[in-house]
Symmetry: C2
Subunit: 201 residues, 2 copies
C-alpha cells in the first residue's frame, strides 16, 4: 500500500511529477528549496526523489536547465542540431537556440536559474557543465575549431549577459528587441568566439 | 555634544567613514544590509547617513559602484578618459577600464554588486544608471555613433557576462587569462557594439 494520495514508485508519471514540482519549487524558492517539499507537491515518497535524482544538483539540472519545458529535451539532440549547421551559420544558430529556449523557459525560471548559479556552487557547476562541457564544447569540436574550452566559455559569457539583460534586469532596448534582430546583432560575436582565430595565449 | 565615540556631523571624515562601512556591509550582507548597522560601524548618527545619502540606492551606487576604491573616483573623469580615445581604440579601452576597475574592486565586492543588481530593483537601477546612462551613453555620443542607448546596453551585456565569468562563477579559462589577452579577445566585440553599423530596427 502506498500512502493515500501518493503515486506508487512504479508509476510512469512519478518522475515527471517530481520534475514538474521541482521546476516550480526552484523557480519560487531558489536552489535551496526543500526536497521534501518537492516530494510532497509531487505526491511521492521523498525516497523516490532520491532514487531518480541522487543529488540536488542533478535534479536542478534536469528540471530547470535541460528539460525546461518538461518536453523531454535531450542534450544530444541539441548538440546534433547545432553541429549539423554550416560552420558559418553557427553564431546565429547558437543565439537563436538560446533565445528561443530561454523564451519558452520564461523570465521567472530563467531568473531563478541565474540566481541559483550565482549563489550556489552546485547549481553553478550544473549549469556550467551543461552549457559549456555538454553542449558548446562538443559543437565547437565538431566544427574542428581549436581551444573548445575557451571558446565555450567566451560564448557562455555573452549569452549569459544577454539573457540577464533581456529577462533579469530587463534593460529597455534588449528586452524589447525581436529575436531575429538580436540574432543579427549577437550572431557575429558568437561566430567569432566559436570559429574564428582568437588572439592571445 | 555628540554621543561618545561618534564622529560629529561636521567632521570631514564622516562621509568617508560611512562609505567605508557601507562598502563592507554591502559586500558582506548584500543590498538589504541595515543602514543603522552602517551608521554604527562608521561611528556616526543614523541621521547623518540619510543626510549624505538620501536613499539606499544612492549610498550603494556611491560606495560600491562609483567609488569602489574609496579613491574619490568620479564618473565625469572616466567618461572624459574614454571619450578622449581614438574611435577605433574605444573597444579595447572599455574592456581594459572595466577589467582593471573590477579587479581593484575584488571578486567579493563585484559578486555582491552583481547579486544585489539581480535581486533588488533599486540596486539594479543604480547599476544600470551608472554603467549605461552616465558612463557608456555619453562616451558613445561623443564618438557620434547612432543609437547610444542600444549600444550601451549591448556593451553592458557583454561586460557583465565577462565579469561574472571571471569573478563570480570563475570559469577556468576566463578566470585565469591575462587582462591584455581578454582585451584582445573582447575588444573587437565591444568596438562593434560601440561604433560599427548594427543590423536591425
Amino acid at each position: 500500500m502506498t500512502p493515500r494520495g501518493r503515486r506508487p514508485a512504479g508509476s510512469p508519471d512519478a518522475r515527471d511529477a517530481i520534475l514538474t514540482a521541482a521546476r516550480a519549487a526552484f523557480a519560487r524558492e531558489g536552489f535551496s528549496t526543500s526536497l521534501r517539499g518537492i516530494a510532497r507537491q509531487a505526491g511521492v515518497d521523498p525516497a523516490l526523489v532520491h532514487h531518480y535524482f541522487p543529488d540536488r544538483a542533478r535534479l536542478f539540472a534536469q528540471a530547470v536547465i535541460v528539460d525546461a519545458e518538461g518536453a523531454g529535451l535531450d542534450v544530444e539532440a541539441v548538440v546534433e542540431r547545432l553541429a549539423s549547421l554550416r560552420a558559418e551559420d553557427l553564431g546565429e544558430g547558437v543565439v537563436r537556440l538560446f533565445l528561443t529556449t530561454w523564451q519558452t523557459m520564461g523570465a521567472d525560471r530563467f531568473t531563478a536559474m541565474v540566481r541559483a548559479a550565482m549563489t550556489d556552487d552546485l547549481a553553478r557547476t550544473s549549469l556550467q557543465s551543461y552549457i559549456s562541457s555538454e553542449l558548446l564544447e562538443p559543437v565547437i569540436a565538431r566544427h574542428a575549431a581549436d581551444r573548445p574550452v575557451l571558446r565555450a566559455q567566451l560564448i557562455a559569457s555573452q549569452m549569459l549577459g544577454l539573457g540577464v539583460a533581456r529577462w533579469v534586469t530587463e534593460v529597455s532596448e534588449i528586452a524589447a528587441a525581436d529575436v531575429e534582430d538580436l540574432v543579427a546583432i549577437y550572431g557575429p560575436t558568437i561566430q567569432r568566439y566559436a570559429t574564428e582565430d582568437l588572439p592571445g595565449a
